[in-house]
Symmetry: D2
Subunit: 346 residues, 4 copies
């Protein structure tokens, strides 16, 4: 059977490169079109020497008309705003679109509060939030999927089983996240200059990060309650990985072991979520390069606070791997196709 | 004037080496005796090549009788249990002792619950907890000082101003700490093997770390209330530094700016505590190698939660620098003698 | 068709774990037996949490009789000496063996000079050196393959085209290698303790490393000359990767471009060797996690010295990936089966 | 006695920050003027939070007229070209100038070949090369000192004793240098973006680095011979440190121990050069934050090649510490004033 033709818009960043890594070993697809505004005209292997000998493609500039007509699947890994515009221009075609940016993750009002005016608000309602562990059914039938942000991915997966059972006290959710530096993208800046990051850890945008409205909206929709969270992101001197330590007050007494069982049951059929044994907490090193989310937890004696630790590779389950999983679901393929390799440790 | 003679017991670990770094530039003292059980008989420069040409001393085995009679100040950087024994043997002398271990930080009952039987419980009441920002007066007159643990140091300094004003809701304190690897000491183990730590972040001993009773005891004594905390330590791929992100519910409405002013006033006379401007959060990189504790904070809209970020160099303000500061206070010297150099950035 | 059953002896180290990573996605094989002396009786996922949900195997102790009789392929990733003994015990079976240790890489006299007495010298002559780029033909028919050391792998691939053309002046070869820390194995030691390695670079075993006789023997055999090298290994604060900078005097005038062409032709049919364009030098980051060897070079003006830069992932092309490639050749399978995924960048 | 007033031109880069670290603890000076083109008008502590509470100065734009008339010592840490212009404008004053840039390191012809036209060639002959271990006498009487480049500093110190004795064969010098990322400065670029550097090592500018003419000119002047070198710089994932591994053919048979003795004698009176014992090679970790150069070496059996390993902290002995040492010599102060603290390990 012929492979489906795929385009990657915004292929010169880290999520773009990671998409290519998975697409290149995927049995059902073939990448035939790649774009990168700043590098248009260059060979892909010029921008990503690690991919030389893989794809003999030239980078195009971003333009809906240049996307070949036989492309059936489009990944957009673009800055917010840019994404919506190109998606809008391509939406009339008979294609599936997975947008890795922020343009279709939020409802209209929330988007405008955090990002300003939306370039094509009429498409917002068409988009399905692409987190299979909470809404696989909708993804199956979607034409446009909004791939989750990396912090929301790790946070929501860590909270869903408790929310689902109504076990969390209102207004008690605190998420303390630690991220590797690829989360900040590939554009040089003092904040991601090697010597400023290495040998240090810092907090940033406490209570102000744009992933906050995404977490709150998804959790509220999922639980049917109005969820607010305290969210503090931190920058860690490593390339990949997010570890979110989540604190919640439980609405009733539970033991660590009871909660672990709840999580195991909740995620029993999920191939990309693994629950750690009691007393063991996950490390980002154990999911590196893979689409796994590992979760461990403990109930704190005394004040009935649960501490949940959720780890992902921010470039994989937190971005490109999740996008591939979404494509697989949208196309009716095996959900792990292209994603079955073990983590790369160490 | 003659320099005071100093002994460093346990000089082959990271806190030992860091003590020497400060003592070597201190104008009032002279190191004349160093011990290291595993390396007895070796030259110090053999164990620490970075100190070659500085101290032409040989490492001794640990033995009270071998500590020269003219030594007036003793630093003990030893495993728990070992410390108490040698302190007990030296206590009759006319000396000042700063213990960097855990043996004299806790009251008797607490110690035994977390560490087992105490080797010389009768000395526990003699020891003064060595955190000048909360009890400088007692340190001045102490003969034996228990130097704080690194996690408690960063946590207590981050919480003291709020506790002092009664601004924290009972049972709401959550401390999420991120530590560099020197905190785990210099003994090789899989947990601190380079390839297991590098490019990863993990949580460990959630709710079970031995620094929890220390934090709770000191905060309870300080506030006159029974304080419990949720405490989660994390290991970060860097040598030095602790960043503690502390979450508390406030008992009354406050703005970020009001709290920052409170912190500035509270620490106005403290030379080693610096408060970050609004919107800026401290990085461990900005205190590296120095005795500073930098603190930033923000009040989260909506649920009146304050997020306080407190950073120290775990080997300095969290261990050896704090010990030097304590010595200076005990001896009536300038509190910053030996500690006045700026942080080493980057 | 049924998958061939495979055993991995010494599965708890980094090369063992990396073998499993590739074997788990290999279409022709199935891992049915794993050993790890120190962890016998434990579940594999206990020792390697990143592999949980992949292999539900228990670790056995090392014992030829325990290796199931239907195992057809054996990988030995064991300390020197141990390897030879078990290989000897299994040699009578109808199996293929790839030994990742040092026991069968050297001729008898050389082995004894550098390692001491050999446990079963009679097998040495049976073993084929497993570097396909220089002796693929012999590997095809081998029953026992000695997988190259990591430093030799990068050095020999960097030198082969020049040696093959007789372009190198006798006695002029200098190899300056920089290695990540996985090269030192997974056993904790002060030398690979995080804080001793991080933020530093050091040289070690200059002129004394046990990979020197291997480099010299293979290069001498390959060139028909008596080759000696100056070899200096260095430890770099990273998990994976070896970069060897190789200096040689050329026997005749050549330009950079001529040499690059020579390298491209020499390796034209090799799928795992990539030559960088003129003016570009390879980074270990561009081969991470993959079986590639990337090579760049430059002829230095004036003194006719060629500087060749050769990079590999020490755990892959320098160990486990090379072992898989050797298995593929020995079994007549596609040489890149299991190894076709792109490097993991960044 | 009154402290001498000092200006630091270009204070917002890493060498600028490091100059301030040393000047702030120097007993003879006081920093009264700092400049930073991009940050003019900002507080210094805004650009360098680690220095807050130390210097309450505002950053000025670069302009000779703004340098206060009572400034007696000027450090210029500026891009090449810029430095020469301001030095020229200030040269008429009764001041001492230490230039940390490249403008006065090379003779006129060499400068123009590697950098283009010189902005004020007439000053080149006035400048003294600031490497005290080879020309302390000239520095003493200099008004303008050209502080060495970081790679030349480590290379020249590693070679001087052998050159001085005529022990090196012509044209045999190969310098393989490994540098931390601060060497590339503080301006953001893809090459020093955290994720591009971390977990990798690469070579760059082989045979083309601008420090090559400096090494060759200084070594030629020192030895009275026409010295050429092969030089390959490498980028290492760490903040600070340069390790140069230097390969030379000896003109006569020597043992490792004989050469070590030669080095010890040669540097017997140098307080900042330390020679490692036989069999021990220096690590950059052992000089971090200090003005030391540590040197180890070994003679390779067989081909009479000496391998010399020389390490410095590129920001200290390779830049700002060396500049302070030069100031001390120029002013007749104790050569180690401000520089006497031990390395910061780990």
């Amino acid at each position: 059977m012929e492979r489906k033709k795929v385009a990657v818009l915004g292929a010169s960043g880290y999520t773009g490169s990671e998409l290519l890594r998975f697409l290149l070993v995927h049995m059902e697809v073939e990448v035939t079109h790649v774009t990168a505004e700043k590098h248009a005209g260059k060979k892909l292997s010029n921008v990503f020497p690690h991919l030389s000998e893989y794809l003999n493609l030239e980078l195009n500039s971003l333009d809906a008309d240049s996307v070949p007509i036989d492309v059936e699947i489009v990944f957009a890994a673009l800055p917010h705003g840019k994404s919506a515009k190109i998606v809008s221009a391509l939406y009339g075609r008979d294609i599936k679109i997975i947008d890795l940016g922020a343009d279709f993750r939020l409802s209209r009002g929330r988007y405008e509060k955090w990002y300003g005016e939306h370039p094509c608000p009429e498409l917002i309602d068409e988009a399905v939030y692409g987190l299979p562990e909470i809404n696989r059914g909708e993804i199956k039938n979607a034409k446009l999927v909004a791939n989750p942000g990396c912090y929301p991915e790790s946070s929501i997966l860590g909270l869903a089983p408790l929310l689902n059972e109504g076990l969390i006290e209102n207004d008690s959710i605190i998420i303390d996240s630690k991220s590797g530096v690829t989360g900040a993208g590939r554009s040089p800046s003092l904040d991601s200059h090697f010597c400023e990051v290495n040998e240090g850890v810092k907090a940033y945008k406490i209570g102000e990060h744009r992933h906050i409205p995404e977490i709150e909206e998804v959790l509220s929709d999922y639980s049917g309650q109005d969820i607010k969270v305290v969210f503090s992101p931190h920058l860690i001197p490593m390339n990949r990985g997010i570890l979110s330590t989540i604190y919640v007050r439980l609405t009733k007494d539970c033991t660590t072991s009871e909660l672990l069982n709840l999580y195991k049951e909740h995620y029993a059929r999920e191939i990309f979520v693994r629950i750690s044994p009691e007393g063991v907490y996950p490390s980002t090193a154990h999911v590196r390069g893979s689409n796994f989310c590992n979760i461990g937890l403990r109930v704190n004696d005394g004040n009935n606070t649960a501490v949940i630790v959720s780890v992902i590779d921010n470039l994989v389950k937190g971005a490109s791997g999740q996008a591939i999983q979404n494509m697989n679901i949208m196309m009716g393929w095996d959900e792990s196709e292209g994603l079955s390799g073990p983590p790369v440790f160490p």
